[in-house]
């Protein structure tokens, strides 16, 4: 329990900052921008029609559903999704790389607790933060959906739609863990967080641009695509398998790294 409390304290500030930022962005999109876009539908459509369709796809913009509340939500998801992913990477690197960055692995690893136990506690702490974030996120979205003319009630489609950030976060939590346990040194947190988040976004944008379905398995932001929920009411099972494989591989490798890796110098 002492380690859990310590880890929660360690990631609390990051959790709070990211939660506020993500909710603020969500509100700006859904309360600020959406009504304006809807009011100017014809003018916006005229602008979009001048854009190449590949460009619109690369930014996750589906013209057919864009002016519906759910469609706009799916468009906004790419930004909320990136930030949620970066939040998950940030939390897991801070939890699993804290000692490495502070050069104090000797301190923790010479305490009477197994590395496997430490690993488990750290993962539970990060999961706790992510679950708390998603409870707040789903609650806020529930209010948003109820206030607007959304066609969905609290049904499976709503759950899939607002659950996308959570599932995406699980994938990125695992990627962050792998980074933190794999590298020799962690000099700062910002570099890897931005690199992993934006790197995954660029891969996803490129894959959407070239329209190769098979390549979506390497595009993490495609795994739980809200546009697909809006249009088809379900995730792509092939991509769910890809997400599971990536997540379990990263977690398994991280576990091996954390429990077996030698701590040669402080």
């Amino acid at each position: 329990m002492n380690v859990y409390r310590f880890e929660i304290k360690n990631i609390l500030w990051t959790f709070m900052i990211w939660t506020i930022i993500i909710l603020a962005v969500e509100m700006i999109f859904m309360i600020g921008l959406f009504p304006s876009f809807k009011e100017s539908e014809d003018a916006v459509m005229a602008v979009f029609n001048n854009f190449p369709s590949q460009l619109l796809k690369s930014i996750n913009l589906e013209i057919e559903t864009f002016f519906s509340f759910e469609g706009f939500y799916a468009f906004a998801y790419i930004y909320v999704g990136i930030m949620s992913a970066m939040m998950a990477v940030s939390l897991s690197i801070r939890a699993f790389g804290h000692e490495k960055k502070s050069h104090c692995q000797d301190f923790l690893m010479t305490k009477p607790i197994t590395r496997a136990h430490l690993f488990n506690i750290k993962i539970v702490a990060v999961l706790s933060a992510i679950i708390c974030f998603n409870i707040i996120f789903v609650g806020a979205n529930l209010l948003l959906f109820m206030k607007n003319e959304a066609q969905f009630g609290i049904d499976s489609e709503f759950i899939l739609l607002v659950g996308a950030p959570f599932l995406t976060q699980l994938v990125f939590l695992a990627l962050g863990m792998l980074y933190a346990t794999q590298v020799k040194h962690i000099r700062n947190y910002a570099g890897p967080i931005v690199s992993i988040g934006l790197g995954a976004y660029i891969i996803t944008a490129v894959v959407q641009l070239i329209e190769k379905e098979a390549l979506k398995v390497i595009a993490p932001f495609s795994y739980f695509d809200p546009n697909r929920i809006v249009t088809e009411g379900m995730y792509d099972s092939r991509l769910i398998v890809a997400a599971c494989v990536l997540t379990f591989f990263c977690m398994g490798k991280s576990y091996i790294n954390y429990t077996k890796k030698e701590i040669i110098e402080a």
Binding site: S102, C104, D106, M109, K111, P112, E262, I263, I264, A266
Partner: protein, 296 residues
Amino acid sequence: MRTVIETSKLTKSYGKSRGIIDVDLSVNEGEIFGFIGPNGAGKSTTIRTLLNLIHKSSGEAHIFGYDCEKQSDLILQHVGYLPSEVFYYEKMKAKDLLKYSASFYKKDCSKRIAELADRLELNLNQRIDAMSLGNRKKVGIIQGLLHQPSLIILDEPTSGLDPLMQRTFFDIIKEENKKGATVLFSSHILSEVQQICDRVAIIKEGRIINTQKISELVETNYKRVQLVFRTEALANQFMIKEATQVEVDGKKMNFLYRGYVQDLLKLIAYADILDVNIENPSLEEIFMHYYTPEEA
């Protein structure tokens, strides 16, 4: 007497690089055991293997009869460790770090923390990243001793401590030892090992080359001597049977002397010399002598 640390042919290699080779150590309960050697000799590698921070390549290592790899969590309940370089969480106050450290042990350590902080004159409210090296070392000492461990492992513990604080630190270690704690004291400074240890193991290039009582080591009195004679001929003729590693360069003569200094001074007094320089040899020079005293 119970053996607290026991290694048998303990070997650790880093790929093709040497770590330690066939290290046999036996540290008895209640003794202060010195572990000396130059930088890179394998002291820290041995300690880190014992603490399961790195994994042995072969051999056996046991502490309190437990396997150092498989049962490290049982061992670490009773071990206090002070690493050579002390790093702790950034932006954390000393008192918070020590409280966190204490939370791993099933006892109330608050009184002991306050007592040690008082003796070491450490401000517990200061942030660790704002502390000097010496003060960080003091935090390290407290976190290593706060749970009153049965085995204290010190890896070059005095770096950064001023002489007065070193004395306080040695006093604390001696007190812990009197209470029953066993101490493994690693250092490359011969004088501090001589000051505190009962027995000593000398490690060089990854191998233990000698293990002996500190009293025997102290009796072994080495001096590095340089003499400058009036002429080259005098330098070539001068002989001392206790001298080893003799080098003559023109009028200058260098050698390692083992014996009573008074006898050396008597010999020098009768020689026709212009200058004399007598100093303590480096540990490395003593190691060389330990290795090949007869062959040299």
